[in-house]
Amino acid sequence: MIAARDRNLWRYYELLPILDKLSIVDIGTGFSTLHRCDNLAGLLGLKNIYVKDDTVNPTNSFKDRPSSVAISKAREFGVEAVGCPSTGNLAAAVAAHAAKAGLPCYVFVPGNTESNKILQAATYGANIVAVAGTYDEANRLAAQVAEERGWAFANINLRPYYVEGSKTIAFEVCEQLGWRAPDSIIVPLGSGALMLAIKRGFDQFMRLGLIEEKRIRLIGAQGEGCAPIVDAFKAGDEEITPIEHPDTVAKSLAIGDPGDGYYVLKAIRESGGTAESASDDEILDAIDLLASTEGVFSEPAGGVTIAVLQKLVASGVISEDEIIVCCVTGNGFKSADTLQGRLVFPAVIPPSLKAFQESHGGND
């Protein structure tokens, strides 16, 4: 019955917290490609690597999922304005859905947010509040403004509805694998909300009998310069020590004080999973590797996932046969500022065969 429905996240409507279908604000999110990555697998000596490719959503990140649910709920509540604090992807997703719903939108971003992310949110018509500080400071300010103005912020006062959208990644992965769960899943961690939502998605499908009961290993991935959850995991701590000055190329994940960190640690440990971080260079190399082996162009948050996969293969944590899914959560164009720094722009040649042969070698 589900298989015949529209290929977007609302195919799981009964499991999403909207009371009336007429409230739904949808611009075509979800049912993103699950790539079977045989080239990458061959290189790493594995058999079953999949990438869940959320670069293809309407605003090019997985944030379209929680935004579609949050803004639908905001419409159901009849709010006056919406918005969010964001490292960039959520801002664009909320702005696009707000535009479709005809609602004013206010987004709070750190001043150093990548320019493409600001361009995107602004073009959808959002009011951009650029904050001189970290994401955590933008988040605090947004919480205070939401309280003061009574506005509905997707990841603050609409958060219980917002998080439900992300669990559709787990639903789709199971459906796309033929109604079964993977053995392990690698998830990039910012606040940690995505991992908890994915876990809830798997749990719900098991409770409904749509997939067999099994223990799925949850693996968290962060950038080394802001890895409070990974650090706490490795230290055996239950509580997170916040990072005051995040410094990682994975700006989407640069959340020094992850609100869901305590719960993510518990979930990872109970699943028998692990958490690992990657350096800026490892992340950027992983972006190139994924793009050049499988044709998927990821921003650093997704590169972190692949970099961590490589590390865990090298350390023997991932076995050859296991079915492993890597979440690629945003498109590389979002971080063009960062990625362009690595590009050596080719020399421009005259439009002649001779010039081509001189620059690319002859064919004799």
Binding site: D136, N155, T241, E244
Partner: protein, 81 residues
């Protein structure tokens, strides 16, 4: 705080951050104290505390010294986007 105590902003006189929280808890009833502190007397994990916009964990936590005009903010710890 607004829902239990009916106020958004309160003026408190104290030297240390911990004293501010104790004064608030004493002045606003058991329901407020229980929401603010866990059974070990520590501020609950899901409440963020800021002094002049800085997270108290980057200062001296409950021993942070306060000066006249300092603003202490208590906010739910939600983040990520």
């Amino acid at each position: 705080m607004t829902r239990i105590a009916g106020e958004k902003r309160v003026l408190v006189e104290a030297c240390l951050l911990g004293q501010v929280l104790d004064t608030l808890a004493s002045g606003h009833g058991e329901e407020f104290r229980v929401r603010l502190f866990d059974s070990g007397g520590q501020p609950r994990r899901f409440i963020n505390i800021y002094v002049n916009g800085r997270d108290y964990r980057f200062l001296d936590k409950l021993d942070t010294v306060l000066h006249e005009g300092d603003v202490v903010a208590l906010l739910p710890a939600v983040s990520g986007g």
